[in-house]
Amino acid sequence: MRRSTSRRRVRSGRLQLHSGVSLTSLMDILTCLLFFVLKSFVAGGEVTAPPPGLALPRSSAERPMTTSLVVAIDRGSILVGSERIASVQDAEASPELLIAPLATRLEAARAQMENIRRLQGSDSTGTRMVTIQGDENIEFRVLQKVMYTLNQSGFQDIALAVIKGS
């Protein structure tokens, strides 16, 4: 009786040893997952992702986002790329439509873009697109000032970033 139970233990011990998760299959799963995640990262990743804490408005717009200079307006600050340029409170309080620090930064960005275009040998008077990523709760006066500043800085093509759906 004792012998038979010890044999069973040995057998079950061996079985456990062989029935562990196969590393090859696991690697296959992880590789698939990695490619999937990488693809979604490339398709809608760093360039298009709004800064944390910024909730884009919802819309039924269908046009996909293209890579361009991004001006983000969250509840506290105005950012160009990931660089904080001005505060929303200052922009709201200012009686002028032009946001001076933003205009300075945009001028620099435009000069840089024109330099790149010149080095590439393409037409320097091409369209300059800016994507505005505004929080759904910002007030129109802030958006108006940002758009006015963009216009004055030579960026006339605007894309308002939104989240698809209701």
Binding site: L23, M27, L30, T31, L33, L34, V37, L38, S40, F41, G44, G45, E46, T48, A49, P50, L56, P57, R58, S59, S60, A61, E62, R63, P64, M65, T66, T131, G134, D135, E136, N137, I138, E139, F140, R141, L143, Q144, M147, L150, N151, Q152, F155, Q156, D157, I158, A159, L160, A161, V162, I163, K164, G165, S166
Partner: protein, 138 residues
């Protein structure tokens, strides 16, 4: 193996699973033309008030459409049956070829309300949308 275990959560955290779309618009030239729009132009304006939209235009009777609660929310499926879209679609039918509309918003109007109004105007076939403040319009 360890690299995979580190890479996957890192990429998952940075990946964006929401679909971002854009509404494209062109701003007017810095030095706008001094001449006013032609007299026969419809000059359609949607004013966003706290509780209603007001649709105005040359030769069009002003219409007041209440903003249904919850304000500022709509979807593509119900956009065509929305009262504002229907009112705008009727105007577009009567004045064929109309594509331009101006949205006049109060300085304190929320961005979501403006985007919703733009969606409804686009659903009615008004694709060239301009924004203006009611402060400068009055």
């Amino acid at each position: 193996m360890n690299v995979f275990i580190v890479l996957i959560p890192m990429l998952l955290m940075s990946a964006v699973f929401i679909e971002i779309r854009v509404i494209e618009m062109s701003l007017p030239d810095v030095a706008p033309a001094a001449e006013p729009p032609p007299a026969e132009a419809l000059d359609l304006v949607i004013r966003i008030l706290p509780d209603a939209w007001v649709v105005e235009g040359r030769g069009v009777a002003a219409q007041v459409i209440a903003i249904p609660p919850p304000a500022g929310r709509t979807s593509a499926t119900d956009a065509t049956s929305h009262p504002l879209t229907q009112a705008l679609a009727r105007i577009v039918e009567e004045h064929a070829g109309t594509r331009d509309v101006r949205i006049a918003a109060d300085p304190t109007t929320r961005y979501q309300a403006i985007v919703t109004t733009m969606d409804l105007a686009r659903a009615a076939g008004l694709t060239d949308v301009g924004l203006e403040s009611t402060e400068q319009a009055q």
